[in-house]
Amino acid sequence: MQNTLYDVIIIGGGPAGLSAAYSAYENGAKKILIIERDRELGGILQQCIHNGFGLHHFKEELTGPGYAYRCAELIKGKEEIEVLIDTMVLLITRDKTVTAVSPEHGLLKLKGKTIILTMGCRERTRGAIRIPGERPAGVFTAGAAQRMVNMEGYLPGHKIVILGSGDIGLIMARRMSLEGCKVQAVLEICPFSNGLTRNIVQCLHDYDIPLHLSHTITKIHGRDRITGITAAQVDDKMQPIPGTEFDIECDTLLLSVGLIPENELSQGLGLEMHPLTNGPIVDQRRHTTLDGIFAAGNVVHVHDLVDFVSEEAEIAGKFAAFHAQATHPPMLRRVNVKTGDGIRTCVPQRLSLPPAGEDSKLFMRVGKPERKVKLEVKSGDTVIMSKMLPVAKPSEMIAINIPAEKTATFGGEITVSINREV
């Protein structure tokens, strides 16, 4: 293992890592290694036991474990693909040496021609949002509670308040209800939910769980175990409005307050990071700012659908395989992708185009909910691509594909923006 020069080393065996590995294999890489820190492959999907995954990618509706199973089946038995589980990557250096440690193998130094970063993301915690009050037991991130309930076999509590209406929070509201718990309320600081509409319907409405928009928690009560919270309405600057406070009793508080791409390794490498996505800057091939280092999935930007994670990882896997085999055409043109009015983030942030151009799919998020607007990709004043959006929400990623022949026509920089005058 340590004497092998791998074509592709993949850091993380979740959906992004597995899809990248299969794609690298399909595109000719002969020596592929997946390194996973958990005791089995599949990543966070193994605890997402609800359904709704895979409609785009596998053309059937799957549960999280079902999706992971299909990804793992694709790489099973391939002698080109090695897997190390229970192995933690500690460091990656610019010469593409990966230092990792595992109970079985001890300290490992592994070398790759290319590396794909697929470490995913992690949850923001109470510390990240600084909720005042006591420091009792019973405050969990929604994902930690999800792992307890769906994989470890115990309940974090019985009377639940959830802060944040992202998808994990909503899914957990239903999950706790199904396990016989009482979900008292979901509080959301924004005037709109950050979760998918279908989850508001089937996770909250179905169980008569109240959703308080423009509300936050101003105090946590309880000395040993949480006994309740004080909620308050917030103004348009997200500051609590005095006099609007009310108390809700609970023995458990679940936080679903955002996800952060897990990029310690990327930062250690000195990759150029994007301040809004919190992930490495990549081009349409998911090549980062360092030669031979690729990245895909939630480590680049937090996705709402695993199907898009797989799609992105397949791109990274393909071009990492080409890069390792050095058969890719020379890069000639660098085009920066700028975000204009209405668009908060866009991945990729730049394009590296061969002379004939290359299919480039852009994934974007809007800054606030919009209705009946036009998404435009412009080069100077020329509209290259546009797409009508009946609705656009910050929680739902928008994708637009720029075909190869069109990418051959522009240079310098392009801008993606929302046109409201339609």
Binding site: R39, E40, Q46, I49, H50, N51, G52, L55, E61, L62, T63, G64, P65, G66, A68, Y69, V149, N150, M151, E152, G153, S177, L178, E179, G180, L196, T197, R198, I200, V201, Q202, D206, D304, L305, V391, E396
Partner: protein
């Protein structure tokens, strides 16, 4: 007299906002859906709402103490909680294959509950 009802499709993550026209208890028209599944959902949601159920059962001898399960087809919405309660009483033994039937014809509703992952025997 017809009435209209606005509802959000839950079939897929697109979450289309649909308007259903209801006349005498039956849905006569659906707009706003992007695919035929939306129209079917609107029809069902107004007349006899159904939901998929995903939960866990206890498993012995496997890597984990829990096995995730899913209903093979949607269940009547008002029976979902009762089904979840019933699943809490079930314990199976590893190995279990993905898709294996865990509970046949749950509560006589004509729907099977199946394993959503495989779980091999795990040596302690």
């Amino acid at each position: 007299m017809s009435e209209t009802k606005i509802l959000n499709c839950i079939v897929c993550p697109m979450g289309c906002e649909m308007t259903a026209t209801i006349e005498g208890g039956t849905v006569t028209n659906v707009t706003g859906n992007t695919c035929p599944r939306g129209a079917k959902y609107a029809q069902e949601e107004i007349t006899a709402p159904k939901r998929m159920l995903t939960s866990t059962v206890r498993i012995t001898g496997g890597l984990l103490p829990l096995l995730p399960v899913v209903s093979k087809n949607p269940l009547p919405k008002d029976k979902v909680l009762a089904c979840a309660e019933h699943l809490r009483t079930i314990t199976v033994e590893a190995p279990i294959a993905e898709g294996a039937t865990i509970c046949e014809n749950i509560l006589g509703l004509g729907v099977d509950i199946v394993a959503s992952r495989a779980m091999d025997v795990h040596a302690e």
